[in-house]
């Protein structure tokens, strides 16, 4: 049984069909990179897995259970699936520590002490033990993104979705965030990430998924996919990057 199974997912925005029948299995411990041209539907797919977009057709199974469209189903889904956004989206009125503590406290009803212990552990893990009392606007972009990762991790999700987590960062800040993601991958965290960092994807991921015009065009081990693209779309995508 896969951790997350997507079957025949269709999603349209009005007339525009953005996902045209996506099948994808995410196994425990797998690190998957989603690549593809701008507008191919990568973000929409990730958001679908997190219940941020409703789907028009298809099924989502998490840990063997089908996600229905009731509110509670979606909340259960989100307990298993965490997400990190391109724009960090930290809560501006809370410190780094409070950002991380908030959801374990109010959603999982952890005691303050418990939530604090977990939050401190997570912030230390992303290298921000000394910035816990800082507010988001007192942190650099890279630091904010690492807080966002810690915030998602504190909920102990079984999968973490990362949508271009370094795209909004200045170049010199990219590596500190990638290092955290790499560490998570090495620790066995299940990850699905949309990324334009091809070298990073090749080094870290077990599986590469190439999307084009709302479909999964090719997928497989990074080495293989990069070395022999089977379709011209991927060939030109890879060629365009070089």
């Amino acid at each position: 049984m896969s951790l997350v199974e997507l079957h025949a997912i269709h999603k349209s925005f009005g007339e525009l069909e953005v996902l045209k029948g996506i099948d994808l299995k995410i196994e425990e411990g797998q690190v998957i990179a989603l690549i593809g041209k701008s507008g191919s539907g990568k973000s929409t797919l990730l958001r679908t897995i997190n219940g941020l977009e409703t789907i028009n057709d298809g099924t989502i199974m998490v840990a063997g259970k089908k996600v229905g469209d009731r509110d509670t189903d979606v909340l259960t889904l989100r307990l298993n699936v965490g997400m990190v956004f391109q724009q960090f989206n930290l809560f501006p009125h809370y410190t780094a520590l409070e950002n991380v503590m908030l959801s374990p406290q109010v959603v999982k009803k952890q005691s303050k002490a418990e939530a604090k212990e977990v939050a401190e552990e997570m912030l230390a893990k992303v290298g921000l033990a000394d910035k816990m009392m800082h507010y988001p606007d007192q942190l650099s972009g890279g630091q904010q993104q690492r807080v966002a990762i810690a915030r998602a991790l504190a909920m102990k999700p079984r999968v973490l979705l990362c949508d271009e987590v370094t795209s909004a960062l200045d170049p010199e800040l990219v590596n500190e965030v990638l290092a955290v993601v790499r560490q998570l991958a090495e620790e066995g965290m299940t990850l699905v990430m949309v990324t334009h960092e091809m070298r990073f994807a090749r080094e870290v991921c077990d599986k590469l998924v190439f999307m084009d015009q709302g479909r999964i065009h090719e997928s497989g081990a990074p080495e293989e996919v990069f070395a022999n693209p089977k379709t011209s779309e991927l060939a030109s995508f890879v060629g365009g990057l070089a």
Binding site: M83, F85, N89, F91, E98, L102, S103, V107, Y135
Partner: protein, 223 residues
Amino acid sequence: MAYKFDFGAIVPHWELLLDGVVLTTELTVIGAVVGVSLGTLGAWARASRAPVISQIVGIYVELIRNTPFLVQLFFIFFGLPALGVKLSEFQAAVLAMIVNLGAYSTEIIRAGILAIPKGQIEAAQSLAMNRVQIFRYVIIRPALKKIWPALSSQIVIVMLGSSVCSQIAAEELTFAANYIQAVNFRAFEVYFVATALYLAMSVLLRWVLKIFGNFLFERRSHV
């Protein structure tokens, strides 16, 4: 022959004026606290997914914002008894202020909520928070912070507007002034002093609201 101003004629009545100031303050404090709470609920309803409730609140807001406060007051004080709702002068005045401020603050707070970036809400959703939790922990504080100046101005406007409550004999500041001028025939002097008192109260209220806002939105970590 020139008119001789005689502000001394007010001095014997200073206690009445003071009582008026106290009552105006009471009206304002109750009106502001309950009115803004009502506005918060209204804004939540406007932003909610339930279209019927949202529309009902929308109609309430438009009705109040497009009719004079004085007419709302008369309707509540003179009109409602026909429905069996009999209110004292003070109750009617307070209710009118609550209903009035509730409508304005619904609109103001709603604007603050709409200004919250979508990413904030999505981040909270991805952390498995439900709608109430998102509103309470993620939306309302930044939204209120953003519109606090506008809300403060509206509260001052409502305080000043309460002067017409004298018309239903609620014994606030203007009522006191009316009473005094009927006794000492020094209308101009009395109203001049009352106006000065209102001015001082609005300056003070604005200052208090600013301090209160700083306190509410101040950065202080509890950890």
